[in-house]
């Protein structure tokens, strides 16, 4: 029995270490003798999710490259932190390890940031998507005006649509998932064609199988184009690809590589400018207090056309006009 207990303990230990290794913190860069700036980020999904988390990780890597590599900027991340108490613990750990900037990249982390930030007044905290920094001097909030790219995608989808039906596959009707879709619907309606838009919400940011089923349901109902947000939309993109003739409009990250022949354009969140601002502010002694909003006008949002898709010139011209209109304020992305 004693031997059994020892073996059981070893097996459990192995299991726990494997899990911790996979889901826990990973070092992206080693520190060097010269003291680099240190940024840690906690994310709800993987850095490779082709959506929300990847958009932040890609931006951090770009900032790191621009600053001169790991010797100038040390990055660490904790991914797949769907569980908020785990994320709160990770945020506190990073702050106590002396990281200069700690990012909680998920709207579910707000209460954790609010709780942890006052205990580390010298550390800069940033979180989003939201605009509330809780009145704390060392907290930045950030969000994306997702409805803007949604509007442009909507214009494109309406102009290219041949079936009279478009499907929207969303996760949960909150945050930028909702505002993106509001903008998209408004964009479709702005074109003035008689197009029916159906929306489904799966109730989950991560349930790929259900998202796939939702997308297939839209397609079975005659949708000629689909869009949607969250990391689970990879299932929707797969359904478009399987159908072979259903167009896809992406958001958060450039999703063209998943369906090169069918992805028309993606709204890309580019957090690089915001990160540079936070770093510069910190250097100047301002540790928080602002809310950043990514927009088409400030370059935080970009519409990435898929060059592999033969987009008619007149359609692209209308989408470009929509982008220009949103930038100069003559077009409102949501009613």
């Amino acid at each position: 029995m004693k031997l059994n207990r020892i073996v059981t303990a070893i097996v459990l230990l192995a299991v726990i270490s494997a899990t911790a290794f996979a889901a826990g913190e990973k070092e992206a860069a080693a520190s060097t003798a010269a003291k680099p700036l240190r940024i840690a980020v906690v994310m709800p999904s993987a850095t490779t999710d082709m959506a929300f988390s990847q958009s932040m990780w890609n931006a951090l890597l770009k900032v790191q490259a621009a600053m001169g590599g790991p010797s100038a900027l040390e990055l660490k991340y904790s991914e797949n932190m769907f569980n908020v108490p785990d994320a709160a613990a990770a945020l506190r750990d990073y702050a106590s390890q002396g990281f200069d900037i700690v990012i909680g990249h998920g709207s579910q982390y707000g209460s954790s940031i609010r709780e942890v930030a006052p205990d580390f007044p010298e550390v800069v905290f940033a979180w989003g998507t939201d605009v509330n920094n809780f009145g704390l001097p060392n907290v930045y909030a950030y969000t994306a005006a997702a409805e803007q790219g949604g509007y442009v995608n909507g214009v494109l989808a309406a102009l290219l649509n041949k079936t009279g039906k478009i499907g929207v596959t969303g996760p949960i009707e909150v945050g930028d998932a909702k505002t993106y879709i509001d903008g998209f619907v408004n964009g479709v309606n702005s074109v003035g064609k008689n197009i029916a838009i159906s929306k489904t919400w799966t109730g989950s940011f991560s349930d790929v199988a259900l998202m796939t089923a939702a997308a297939k349901t839209h397609i079975a109902n005659g949708a000629g184009a689909l869009t949607g947000s969250s990391q689970s939309v990879v299932g929707s993109i797969g359904a478009c690809k399987e159908a072979g003739n259903v167009l896809w409009f992406g958001t958060q990250s450039d999703q063209a590589t998943l369906a090169p022949a069918l992805t028309v354009a993606s709204q890309v969140y580019d957090w690089e400018g915001m990160l540079n601002d936070i770093i510069a502010n910190r250097k100047a002694g301002k540790l928080g207090g602002d809310a950043f909003v990514l927009t088409l006008a400030n370059g935080g949002l970009k519409v990435a056309y898929n060059h592999g898709f033969a987009l008619p010139a007149d359609v692209k011209a209308k989408a470009d006009a929509a982008i220009a209109g949103i930038k100069n304020g003559s077009i409102k992305a949501t009613p």
């Binding site: 059994n4 073996v7 059981t8 097996v11 459990l12 192995a14 299991v15 726990i16 494997a18 899990t19 911790a20 290794f21 996979a22 889901a23 999904s45 993987a46 490779t48 999710d49 082709m50 990847q54 991914e79 797949n80 769907f82 499907g167 009707e173 029916a196 159906s198 929306k199 489904t200 919400w201 799966t202 109730g203 989950s204 991560s206 349930d207 790929v208 199988a209 259900l210 796939t212 089923a213 939702a214 297939k216 349901t217 839209h218 079975a220 109902n221 990391q231 689970s232 990879v234 299932g235 993109i237 797969g238 690809k241 399987e242 590589t257 998943l258 369906a259």
Partner: protein, 310 residues
């Protein structure tokens, strides 16, 4: 209620139901064998994840779906042996070892995906195979007889499982071991061997369930692809009263509710989305409360067997 009761919509609802029920059927039928022998394997979700990853990875590298399926079954077998070793040979608490296995599968599949693949990418999975003549029957032909081989296998597994459990000596031994292992032991049945077999069979089927997600339904892999479907499969075994036919009923009901809620939303029926997505779970709880016959639960479920001590 506009156009909800048309043949097209009904056929769409049923087609989606059939597709969604496939992973549940494999995983829950496998778990039925495991539980009837007295072992609750809560690691089904982890097995589905790791096997689903390997199935995807094999197809990603070679394009061969059969190789993917085989690899998923092998991963299931290895994880079944792990579960059996810990819970049957070492007689560890089954719930804890199952959760350990689930965490291992979740973490390892995530790690391997990151190291070996890196980013989300899709593959060409099993394609639908239309059965000659039957596939041409109006309405039901397109629902039942125009699916891929994993879907057909999942549904054929129901009568096969029933036959093994009800009509063969092996089935009798499995149930005897799950009801009264000491009595089974006294008549010469090797309790541990039967439990090893049942747990491993369940794990192999959980592996196929994982493959049905990654190379049949979604045709891609992503961290935590199952989103807890393995746990729903375990619940379906209780739901189905430890009978393959009951499991089929549960899997179909749960998938039908999910399919119906998606169609309700697509058709723009005025039901709040948050209520619609609750429908399958509410229905499951209601049926579990009302219909489950606890008398059928294997008496030695979740109990270790100590030879000569029971």
């Amino acid at each position: 209620m506009m156009n909800i009761f048309t043949w097209d919509v009904l056929s769409g609802v049923l087609r989606t139901m059939i597709a969604l029920s496939t992973p549940f059927l494999f995983a829950a039928l496998g778990e039925t064998f495991s539980q009837l022998s007295g072992v609750v394997n809560l690691g089904v979700d982890g097995i589905m994840l790791l096997a689903g990853f390997f199935a995807f990875y094999a197809v990603f590298l070679t394009g061969n779906v059969w190789l993917g399926l085989l690899l998923a079954m092998l991963v299931g077998l290895v994880m079944g042996l792990m579960m059996s070793f810990v819970s049957v040979t070492l007689k560890a608490q089954q719930g804890i070892s199952g959760i350990g296995l689930q965490m291992f599968g979740l973490g390892m599949s995530s790690l391997l995906f990151k190291v070996l693949v890196g980013t989300v990418t899709s593959v060409t999975g099993f394609r639908p195979v239309k059965i000659p003549l039957l596939g041409d029957i109006p309405f039901i032909g397109s629902i039942l007889f125009n699916n891929n081989v994993l879907v057909y296998s999942a549904f054929l597994l129901v009568p096969l499982s029933w036959w093994v459990l009800e009509k063969t000596t092996l089935g009798l031994k499995i149930k005897a071991v799950g009801q009264n292992p000491a009595a089974a032991d006294s008549v010469g049945i090797n309790v541990n061997r039967i439990r090893y077999f049942s747990v491993c069979l369940g794990a192999v089927l959980a592996g196929v369930a994982g493959a049905s997600l990654s190379i049949s339904i979604a045709n891609l892999f992503q961290d935590n692809l199952t989103s807890g479907q393995g746990f729903i499969a375990v619940a379906l075994v209780y739901f189905g009263g430890w009978s393959p036919v009951g499991v089929l009923g549960g899997a179909l009901l749960f998938s039908l509710a999910n399919s119906a809620q998606l169609w309700l939303q697509v058709l723009g029926i005025n039901v709040p989305a948050s209520l619609a997505v609750m429908l399958p779970y509410v229905l499951t709880i209601v049926v579990l409360t009302v219909a489950v016959n606890r008398g059928k639960q294997p008496a030695a479920l979740n109990k270790q067997f100590f030879r000569g001590e029971n």
